[in-house]
């Protein structure tokens, strides 16, 4: 059973809440409504599903789109080389082109094209989903959910590889109820731990989030 709680939450407000962009007072009102309203619970679930699926699928579609013209046999290479070597004596240009082509063909497929793309990834503490997946080619901005913590300055973010080695650390920037950091691209695929530590209290661990980087 639920309670009639009209008016219900608007689609825009639900979206902003799902994306962590709703200011705390509005979020509080919405959460009170959600506690008793089954309809809006279902609508938020659908919104969450949609956004999560979009954030996984959109980069894949974009990557496919980028790869499409480039993977036509040798076209991009010919275009690039024709400009680059236009002024050189033909035998030199030919030899360099052959070397470049050989290097290109010798590369594993995963290394051939790494279009760098900007990606914002929201990480939520403990919550079990697989949305925290990025690619080595992503220029990452991570937004860490501060659920249960005071949104205040003084938080430091560390990223540790699965062997415990710290691969990145820096100050977080508060963005509403989230803490944003931009670690850039990752060199190695694998599992990482993103941690919020209290810079004032000898780096005591406050939150930890899992992040997977794929090729």
């Amino acid at each position: 059973m639920g309670i009639i709680l009209e008016p219900h939450v608007s689609e825009d407000t639900l979206e902003r809440y799902a994306m962590g962009l709703l200011p705390p007072p509005e979020a509080a009102r919405l959460e009170e409504h959600l506690l008793g309203c089954h309809l809006c619970q279902d609508r938020l679930q659908e919104t969450d599903d949609f956004i999560q699926a979009f954030r996984i699928a959109a980069p894949r579609v974009a990557e496919e789109e980028r790869l499409r013209p480039q993977t036509k046999p040798g076209e991009w290479l010919r275009a690039a080389l024709s400009g680059l070597f236009a002024w050189r004596p033909l035998p030199v240009a030919g030899a360099l082109a052959a070397i470049a082509l050989a290097v290109f063909l010798a590369m594993p497929d995963s290394q051939r094209i790494h279009p760098v793309q900007t990606r914002v990834l929201d990480l939520r503490a403990i919550r079990s989903d697989a949305s925290a997946i990025a690619r080595v080619s992503d220029q990452l901005t991570l937004r860490l959910d501060l659920e249960g913590l005071q949104p205040e300055s003084g938080y430091r973010v560390e990223i540790a590889a699965s062997n415990g080695r710290i691969v990145w650390s820096g100050e977080g920037k508060l963005e509403g109820p989230m803490l944003a950091v931009s670690p850039g691209t990752f060199d190695e695929p694998g599992f990482y731990w993103v941690r919020i530590v209290n810079a004032r209290q000898q780096g005591s661990l406050l939150r930890e989030y899992a992040l997977e980087i794929r090729n």
Binding site: I3, E6, D12, L39, Q41, E46, F50, I56, D129
Partner: protein, 226 residues
């Protein structure tokens, strides 16, 4: 999907879908007061009433924040804390019952997260820095997420690259609507319509392809009375 509805303001009304005979209307302040007094006097039926009104919402919130693991126990613990706090007289303004429950639930979420972080840290210390297995990787959940991503890919493959860019700017890069409309030469209505169509298509394909509800909903069906 609900996205095809016309919702322009901050709030909207949809009494049709909520006015089923078994759905009670929202109690006003005096009704909350009566309910709170009955709980304080140890009336079991009042506790059942409170549970039937809020257990699904508590469950939904906990599941969204913490995932479906041990959800029944967490809901039970949280509900107990709410009842005990009411019985102790911690709720001084009964008409603020919903805000009070939200506060308790949020504190519980923070406590669950703290516990999980510390027990994970202790386990990591024991293993001298070697990370423990990632318990977030639930294969069934991942399969559902992948299926949904596949459906979304179909939706995105079917629309123009311009429309894809508009949606990507909003959902992936989180650019403000005003900026997107200005830079992409788009009216607010066109922007809303594009989002609504994408959501409707995603919902439609999802219903066709996935004979299931999300894990969260599955978990919720286990709740008595919901």
């Amino acid at each position: 999907m609900t996205s095809v509805r016309n919702d322009v303001g901050d709030a909207e009304s949809n009494s049709q879908s909520m006015s089923t005979p078994e759905t009670p209307s929202v109690p006003d302040g005096s009704q909350w007061r009566v309910l709170v007094e009955r709980i304080q006097s140890g009336d079991n039926s009042a506790m059942e009433e409170l549970y039937s009104l809020f257990s699904r919402g508590i469950r939904f919130y906990l599941c969204r924040q913490l995932g479906p693991q041990e959800l029944d126990d967490k809901v039970h613990d949280t509900f107990l804390i709410v009842v005990q706090a009411i019985q102790r007289g911690d709720l001084r303004e009964p008409e603020r019952l919903m805000g009070f429950i939200r506060t308790v639930v949020r504190r519980q979420v923070a406590a669950f997260i703290d516990n999980a972080v510390h027990s994970r840290r202790e386990q990591m210390d024991l293993e001298t820095g070697v990370s423990i297995a990632d318990n977030r990787q639930n294969p069934e959940q991942n399969a559902i997420i992948e299926q949904q991503a596949g459906i979304m890919k179909e939706v995105l493959d079917d629309i123009s690259s311009r429309d894809r860019e508009i949606l990507t700017r909003f959902y992936l890069h989180e650019q403000p609507q005003e900026q997107i409309c200005q830079e992409m030469n788009l009216s607010e209505t066109q922007f809303r319509l594009l989002k609504s169509r994408a959501k409707a298509r995603f919902g439609e394909l999802g219903r066709k392809k996935l004979n299931r509800k999300s894990l969260n909903k599955l978990s919720m069906r286990n709740t008595a009375g919901s």
